[in-house]
Symmetry: C2
Subunit: 369 residues, 2 copies
């Protein structure tokens, strides 16, 4: 379903309800059309995020959306953004929006794997799509339609909410030279990547962001995966762990906007259209902002972290992680036909995009180097 069809299929009742006569400047032949825009209702929506206030890179996307909606609507459409610092419930965003306590959310789809495994692949998959490839999949490869098919069951729409780009593989206190070095390693790495690492002997665990530094310092964990250089260094992880491995598990982590379906369908077309455009703009903006923050951090890296070793995991480790990744995916697919359908769709896209990325982006980066 493309965006236009999507809007057409939405209930038009809201748009009709919003047609109230005003017409003080409307010519008689255009009065009906004018009325739609001149008498837009005042709307106040609440939006809950999964991010603490301090993670500006993620929190900025819904804040930007709210700002744009306010200005574009002439102050009529207000979105009140509550961070997880306020709600104290970062992982309740799904339920908040489903129950319409909040009309919108900003989060990450893979947090909802326990509620519905089919939501998993919409954030990012190990050895999967890059941010740019993911954009093509979402908007032209059918990804957004597939996502909305999954979320319809839960009474919500979901849209891409901005990509953080490639996430780094994590901070380790000791070097990883082979699979043997992963045996018994305690690592903070949640989600799918944790499941995969468990298959090669790692003890994965999840620890709230506020406790990460101390956990690593005190040896509660031997390694920590967080996000990217910009957000990782803000944590101070480089002071403790001196081996920083490059990414494989979240090549293009896309955040998500969640929207309560009934609340959205009730809106006049003008507002639905503004939301569509502004969500997509915010999403693109995050990719640009994320890149910039990482560029700045990475430029200072040789000075700020002179004793940190950076590089990819050894080839045999990566190969085994890729193999295990396929096995874990197949197991989830067995349990959830919906997950299997989304995964197959995304993998098919990955298979077709990889040769083009190789001959364009990758080839060029070699040529430029």
């Amino acid at each position: 379903m493309n965006r236009r069809e999507f809007i057409r299929n939405g209930a038009l009742a809201g748009a009709a309800a919003a047609v109230v006569s005003c017409g003080s400047d409307a010519g008689s032949d255009t009065a009906a059309k004018d009325a739609v825009s001149s008498e837009l209702p005042r709307v106040t929506w609440r939006l809950a995020t999964s991010w603490p206030k301090t993670i500006d890179l993620l929190q900025n996307a819904p804040l930007r959306l709210a700002d744009n909606m306010r200005v574009m609507s002439g102050g009529r459409f207000t979105i009140e953004v509550d961070s997880a610092t306020k709600t104290k419930a970062p992982l309740d965003v799904f339920d908040f929006v489903r129950g319409n306590q909040f009309q919108m959310g900003h989060s990450a789809s893979y947090y909802w794997k326990g509620k519905d495994p089919a939501t998993l692949p919409f954030t990012t998959m190990p050895f999967g799509l890059t941010a740019q490839e993911q954009g093509a999949w979402f908007w032209y490869g059918g990804g957004v339609d597939m996502m909305n098919k999954v979320y319809a069951k839960h009474g919500m729409y979901s849209f891409p909410g901005g990509n953080t780009g490639l996430q780094m593989g994590g901070w380790f206190r000791k070097p990883i030279n082979s699979l043997a070095d992963l045996q018994g390693l305690k690592m903070r790495i949640p989600g799918l990547a944790g499941e995969i690492l468990a298959r090669v002997g790692v003890s994965p665990t999840n620890i709230p962001p506020g406790e990460l530094y101390t956990a690593l310092e005190r040896g509660v964990v031997d390694a920590v995966e967080w996000i990217n250089p910009y957000l990782d260094l803000a944590m101070g992880l480089q002071k403790i762990a001196k081996f920083y491995y490059t990414g494989w598990h979240e090549p293009g982590a896309e955040t998500q906007f969640l929207v309560n379906r009934a609340a959205f369908d009730e809106l006049p077309e003008v507002y639905r259209s503004m939301l569509h455009v502004a969500m997509k703009e915010s999403g693109f903006n995050m990719l640009c902002e994320s890149m910039m923050r990482n560029i700045e951090t990475w430029n200072d890296f040789p000075q700020t972290c002179p004793d940190v070793h950076v590089g990819p995991l050894p080839d045999d480790v990566l190969l085994e992680l890729k193999r295990q990744s396929g096995i874990v995916n197949a197991e989830i697919a067995k349990e959830s036909p919906e997950f299997a359908e989304v995964l197959e769709h995304q993998n098919q896209f990955l298979k077709t995009v990889a040769p083009w990325t190789a001959i364009s982006e990758q080839n060029y980066l070699e040529v430029r180097a």
Copy 2:
């Protein structure tokens, strides 16, 4: 200057003029604020593009903008998009918008090098930024501000209008195995890339798109650079030339929106904001669409072009092109201090972004392969 400042600095006269009392649903305390959105003027703008109708990938960006502006404004803001098929003047877009015959344009900044060399780097530069890097430069690295500083002199604003991604190096009838093979070669390749190739013995020429196929077939030229697989194969170039080289000269070609400055400044804030958001959304959308079209074309490539050789130019050729590229840039910089300033700004960004791209995107693509 960020977007908010940008809006603040715009003349607010238009916004004030648009405040007409309506207030049929406005509470007394909010009447003034309501009036801004409830009494937006009807606006019809004209937009000229440099693209023939048939180049859908480029033409779609302004069409999408017009569509979104129409719906978001409840039908009050109309943008009439004229393709170059209609205006018959693809390279007059700059003057059309400067003179306000058209309030907007969609084109490519490097077409205006003859009018102002400082406009050149805003499209793409040989061995320069990729599409994703360019996005970060424009929106967070100061690129958009720099661009508007350049265009202010010409009475216009300019905004990123969508990136086509990496452009391919062109179609050659004979293989290029060394610099010697470029001697005396007649090639359709306009602009800066043409100037650079001229330094290594190529005779560059520009030929209108409609005559490209015949020119290559009849030997008027030995090689043709056009755009990317999707648009190149539509031309049929693969039927004649069997050597297709990868890109170096336009790593992330960004199109541009041109806006007449006075016309934009007169608009109410609501419309200025909608235009900002919708232009950026259209731009991002083009990158996704372009990628998808190339993916599809590239997947069929082994079948549609089984006898075409694809690969990079030889290392020594690329090295010399890079060297000559620096020389040509330095010559232009000598003539135009404004060009020098933009180039220096962009090169500085390139220097800082390259290490991050190498350790994230490039490293990952190797890990995934």
